[in-house]
Symmetry: C2
Subunit: 451 residues, 2 copies
Amino acid sequence: MEDSPLLLDLYELTMAQAYLRYRKNSLATFDLFVRQLPKGRSYLVSAGLKDILGYIKELSFSSSDLAYLKGKKIFSTEFLKYLANFKFGGDIWAVPEGRIVFANEPLIRVTAPIIEAQIVESFFLNTINLQTMIASKASRVVNAAKDREVFDFSLRRTHGAQAGLKVARSSYIAGFNGTATVLAGKLYHMPVVGTMAHSFIMSFKHELDAFLAYALTFPSRTVLLVDTYNTRQGILNAITGGLYLKKKGYKLQGIRLDSGDIVSLSKLARRLLDNTGLGFVKIFASGNLDEFKIKRLLRQGARVDSFGVGTNMGTSIDAPSLDVIYKIVEVTDEEGNFLPTMKLSKAKITYPGRKQVFRIEDKNGRFIKDILGLEKEKISGLRLLKKVVDKGRIVYKSPTLDKVRLALKSELCRFPQGLLDIDSDYMYQVLVSPALKRLQKSLARQLRERQ
Amino acid sequence: MEDSPLLLDLYELTMAQAYLRYRKNSLATFDLFVRQLPKGRSYLVSAGLKDILGYIKELSFSSSDLAYLKGKKIFSTEFLKYLANFKFGGDIWAVPEGRIVFANEPLIRVTAPIIEAQIVESFFLNTINLQTMIASKASRVVNAAKDREVFDFSLRRTHGAQAGLKVARSSYIAGFNGTATVLAGKLYHMPVVGTMAHSFIMSFKHELDAFLAYALTFPSRTVLLVDTYNTRQGILNAITGGLYLKKKGYKLQGIRLDSGDIVSLSKLARRLLDNTGLGFVKIFASGNLDEFKIKRLLRQGARVDSFGVGTNMGTSIDAPSLDVIYKIVEVTDEEGNFLPTMKLSKAKITYPGRKQVFRIEDKNGRFIKDILGLEKEKISGLRLLKKVVDKGRIVYKSPTLDKVRLALKSELCRFPQGLLDIDSDYMYQVLVSPALKRLQKSLARQLRERQ
């Protein structure tokens, strides 16, 4: 349902009919990019390309779609016939998933007959917005947790089920260690984890009964939730459970703190566990966590090994959308020549022409700046945009999720440390090439004169 | 895909296996409710029940689901056999869609064997969270716009495609007049609308060429976007287009302002349109709108007839999640007697027992307060929770979307005016019945003693 070709704004179709009528369906180029980073953020992590390619592959209007559109009585027979044969036949360049990107850098560049380029707009924006937003937020959580494990616990508060799945996948790309969402495990072959809920404990007469019932069912993978009634007593009950398992030759995996003062409770738990020979039992923390709280907990000496992070990451709560836009940057004239174009209205000026992002390394392989330039420019640096669709045919094979995840981890190490500090106001340098600046300036003059 | 039974947190399944092993699969009751309203909000609009019922109807584990779970090597053969025959066989009571609800009032109440009640938890929370959150936010936008039209333009920034569809539906329930999302129109039989994008104008040499091309394609449904280059000139070009259409016997539907000072630009546009005999042309505004901006625009005298509202509504930007929880309130003992239960941990105390929400009217039919009481109490008032599932069978027929929308509109009129003012700190009174208070108190004492 969610990759239906009707998953678009109505104006894409009405504009398309006008283009068709005026034989204006010539090639155009569009850039998809984030205009401004969310406040306090210093980079984005690209995600969503895999779904974009899946969508392009399947994109066609079913007879039921066409019947619905016909029933609206606003589309011409000529246009409905065009849609019946619709296929995406253009070129797409994109930044692979799991790369670091910055404001104004195209994540996707489409060159196609203008109708085709417009029909994919809503889906492309929607997909990149969600997945890049979440991967970017999750990457901050990973940075804050340093070498501790972090798990996605957000399903119950994500914006729908599909968002829950995409959050699991995008946060895993960003370095999360797994998710609680079982279906994400099945679909994306990623680790799934789980502990227990308060209701489990409350359905037994005594907390200890609940602990033992669970531990005996999963002797080698039990994490006991200790804050249902009284957390100190809960820790002691968990120790009783842990010692019982130990006697039977098993290891209690962990205890989970879900409320209260995590710093002091985790220190208490660590001490009590260590003093009873349960030093191997890990301490999990959850409950309204985000990168800021995790950083604070660790700075204050919390003895936490693993964090379960839910709502704040899964909704990107401080920036629940990206300023992601899809702008025309090039049109063709009657003779088929490409002419750069741009928007002029105040504060929304864009960079015209077919562009590439060049990432510049120093001699030690560390990244020092990006340059946004014209594609044809000869700038020596890594080129972020890769060709992924050639005349409608997919020419890029998405790597496995684990490969994407590892690639991001090693790419992050090549950036200055300031980028990874969640509280720093460090800004990585993104320059605009002189040629692109000149083009923008002369085009602005030309467009003002023409109108 | 999104209504798969695996759309849940892993712990629902591990707890289930422990329940099964310890023959603890007896009846329990869970309440789904919002603990606290988001800051600045005075009510919620219930939405999501239709999807809950659809999910309950289809809920079963496929052989592919079971094979995946088996492969995880954590589940017993006995448990997998149980899942293979799994069906939801409990009772569900729910507040119908499009009703006003407040903090602590159960939106859904489930009484079922505890495994069944837990397996539906993640889906129920996820579904109610998204749809109730959006309907509640959208209702504020409708209140702020007073009698002006408001349309959902949010698809490109919602959290995925499914969220886009649910936002269109939920905002329509709340009183929006339609959406730009075509698939929502097809699936939910709701109105779809559209104007044009900047790219359309930029793909023509002159703005006026673009306006005429569109207007001649859709002579009776054209809304011209006037801010691509210079908004004043854009308005004049739109007037040229409008006069041309008028001469041909058509009416230009509107112009759209998407940036700049909407107050002064809309006044200018209104004057110019009126002075040229185009008084019937409507003015649309869009661009980062929400209830606060709409209220301000109207207070400052903006001459806007219709608002397109996107990201801020479609992500519920100031409260991108609800504090929605699913809590066990009743368990059965060995003899099958229902015993109320509750969570004791600090600041998270809940109301135990099987409850009902009673809405009290005055003699003019105006609502004056709600009472959260025990189901068996005799309190005269409207009972918000209705039985929707009886022993697994759906016994409630969801009304059409238009009926839900109208019912909400007329219900809202019966509340004090303060509730509808987006800036007021008015709080509708929700009391807890003396019997429920007594139960909570005595149970707290009992539980503390027991642990």
